[in-house]
């Protein structure tokens, strides 16, 4: 599992979203409240640049919210800029079809002040 140093941790503050090129692939590195995640920058829907999309929360509405709209998972959802498919950054799974439409996630570690992505 090759490990790639992508930069000093100071360049990836909480809430940040950065694209890095690791060899032949592009990866989005996300800092969600101090926890790092990395996803391929390719949407499984039609191959759009998923990690260039906006990072937000997501609407929810269920018996648990009294069937009122709620806003949840702030900072944990990236929306593909091509067709609007939402993905949970922390799992790589889409919100619409978590088991069918998903991307892999790469492990990220912080060592010696450096952010490292393992492919």
């Amino acid at each position: 599992m090759p490990e790639h140093v992508v930069g000093p941790v100071a360049e990836f503050p909480p809430g940040s979203q950065r694209l890095v090129r690791l060899g032949r692939i592009e990866v989005g590195v996300f800092n969600v409240d101090g926890v790092f995640y990395a996803l391929p920058n390719v949407c499984p829907h039609q191959f759009g640049p998923l990690c260039e999309g906006g990072v937000t929360g997501a609407t929810a509405c269920s018996a648990a919210t009294g069937w009122k709209f709620a806003w949840e998972r702030e900072g944990e959802v990236v929306t593909c800029p091509w067709h609007g498919v939402e993905f949970d950054i922390t799992t790589g799974r889409s919100l619409v079809a978590p088991d069918r439409l998903k991307v892999r996630t790469y492990p990220v570690v912080v060592e010696d002040g450096q952010v490292k992505v393992r492919l």
């Binding site: 829907h45 997501a58 609407t59 929810a60 509405c61 269920s62 069937w67 709209f69 067709h83 609007g84 498919v85 939402e86 889409s94 919100l95 619409v96 079809a97 439409l101």
Partner: protein
């Protein structure tokens, strides 16, 4: 090969139980008047004096007939008594049928709310008092979109009647469409009574959906779209306000629009669910998954592609467990059971579509043998 198919048909039609999800009884003003509350009984008595016209009675079945008469064509039919219905169903090999109205297919556009409520009560009284003692005849209660709270009480009133097996949602010209939250009491009552709701449309010219059918020069054009567009619009309406999520046991049936539109809507709604999930977060799964779980689709008017295998493939896409035979007897475009029985499908699939699916959906006990005898 041909001989094999024919032998299969003969072997199956004699022992396949045929349940028909959509047949029609002639609900004239004169028939309903004795069952109607005053002062609206007087309205029906006045209407009963006017010469009857087929699905075209002002103040009762309001439509807008725009076409000039052209000689030729085939006659309209209607069924007036349970014995007549039993005999005619037997003649086409149908064992069990779920009754819908004729004229009150055009119920939804009636604007007078008190009158509509009285009419719905009268129809339901007439249906349960006069039609359901006949063997094999089951009823769908008329829901009243004009007063959903009253309609919910009506469903509770008849919930214990074993021969009431569904709630009919008048779909032609309904405004707003059936997904609107104003109808929640009807869905809650149907769910609590464990009665499926069945959407049924009819061809009409109306300012409500499917609107602008007046743009077509003749009935052919209007007939093409009135049923199927009404089903597509109301299915979309139900999904886009989360009815299947908010009523997790509610079962929904769609009648008289054929079935070929169903895979199209499954795929189209799934595609746009991907894009617009944030607007409809009450959905916990893709629209097609709700459709495959708790929605049923009646076959009539069954599509007739040159290659019948195309239709079989279409049924597979929907799921053979979710397809219900319907004849629409006695209407002008009825389907004979043989239209489905002749399809190149395994006998097990035919049994499901022709009857088993409907018996399960409607909670009708399986008859020990053919009520209709051998067709």
């Amino acid at each position: 090969m041909q001989a094999t198919v024919e032998r299969t048909d003969r072997a199956t039609i004699s022992d396949i139980i045929v349940v028909d999800a959509d047949i029609h009884i002639n609900d004239t003003p004169a028939a309903l008047a004795p069952y109607c509350e005053e002062p609206w009984r007087k309205s029906l008595e006045i209407l009963a004096e006017t010469p009857s016209r087929y699905l075209d009675i002002p103040g009762f079945s309001p439509t807008l007939k725009l076409d000039p008469p052209i000689p030729g064509g085939h006659a309209n039919r209607s069924v007036h008594t349970p014995a007549e219905m039993r005999a005619e169903l037997t003649a086409i090999g149908v064992d069990i049928g779920v009754l819908f109205p004729d004229n009150l297919l055009l119920f939804a556009p009636l604007p007078n709310i008190e009158y509509a409520v009285a009419l719905s009560h009268a129809y339901n009284r007439w249906l349960t008092a006069e039609w359901l003692d006949e063997e094999g005849l089951y009823g769908a209660l008329l829901a009243c979109p004009q007063d959903p709270v009253d309609s919910a009480r009506e469903i509770e009133r008849y919930a214990a009647n074993d021969k009431v097996v569904a709630v009919y949602l008048p779909t032609a010209g309904v405004n707003p469409l059936w997904g609107h939250r104003t109808y929640d009491p009807i869905f809650a009552a149907a769910e609590a009574a464990d009665l499926p709701v069945l959407l049924h449309s009819v061809t009409l010219v109306s300012p409500a959906f499917p609107c602008q059918l007046d743009q077509f020069e003749n009935h052919f054009g209007r007939q093409m779209l009135s049923h199927s567009f009404a089903m597509m619009a109301n299915l979309t309406s139900l999904i886009h306000t989360g009815v299947p999520a908010r009523f997790p046991k509610l079962r929904v049936g769609f009648t008289e629009a054929g079935i070929a539109w169903v895979p199209y809507m499954m795929w189209r709604m799934d595609k746009y669910y991907q894009e617009y999930r944030r607007m409809i977060p009450f959905l916990e799964k893709r629209p097609s998954e709700y459709m495959k779980e708790r929605m049923w689709f009646a076959t009539q008017p069954i599509e007739e592609p040159d290659d019948p295998k195309d239709l079989v493939r279409m049924i597979d896409m929907i799921g053979a467990d979710r397809v219900l035979f319907a004849s629409d007897w006695p209407h002008h475009d009825f389907d004979h059971p043989r239209a489905l029985l002749k399809l190149p499908m395994p006998i097990e699939t035919k049994r499901k579509i022709m009857g088993e699916n409907a018996l399960e959906l409607f909670g009708i006990p399986k008859p020990v043998g053919k009520i209709a005898g051998v067709a």
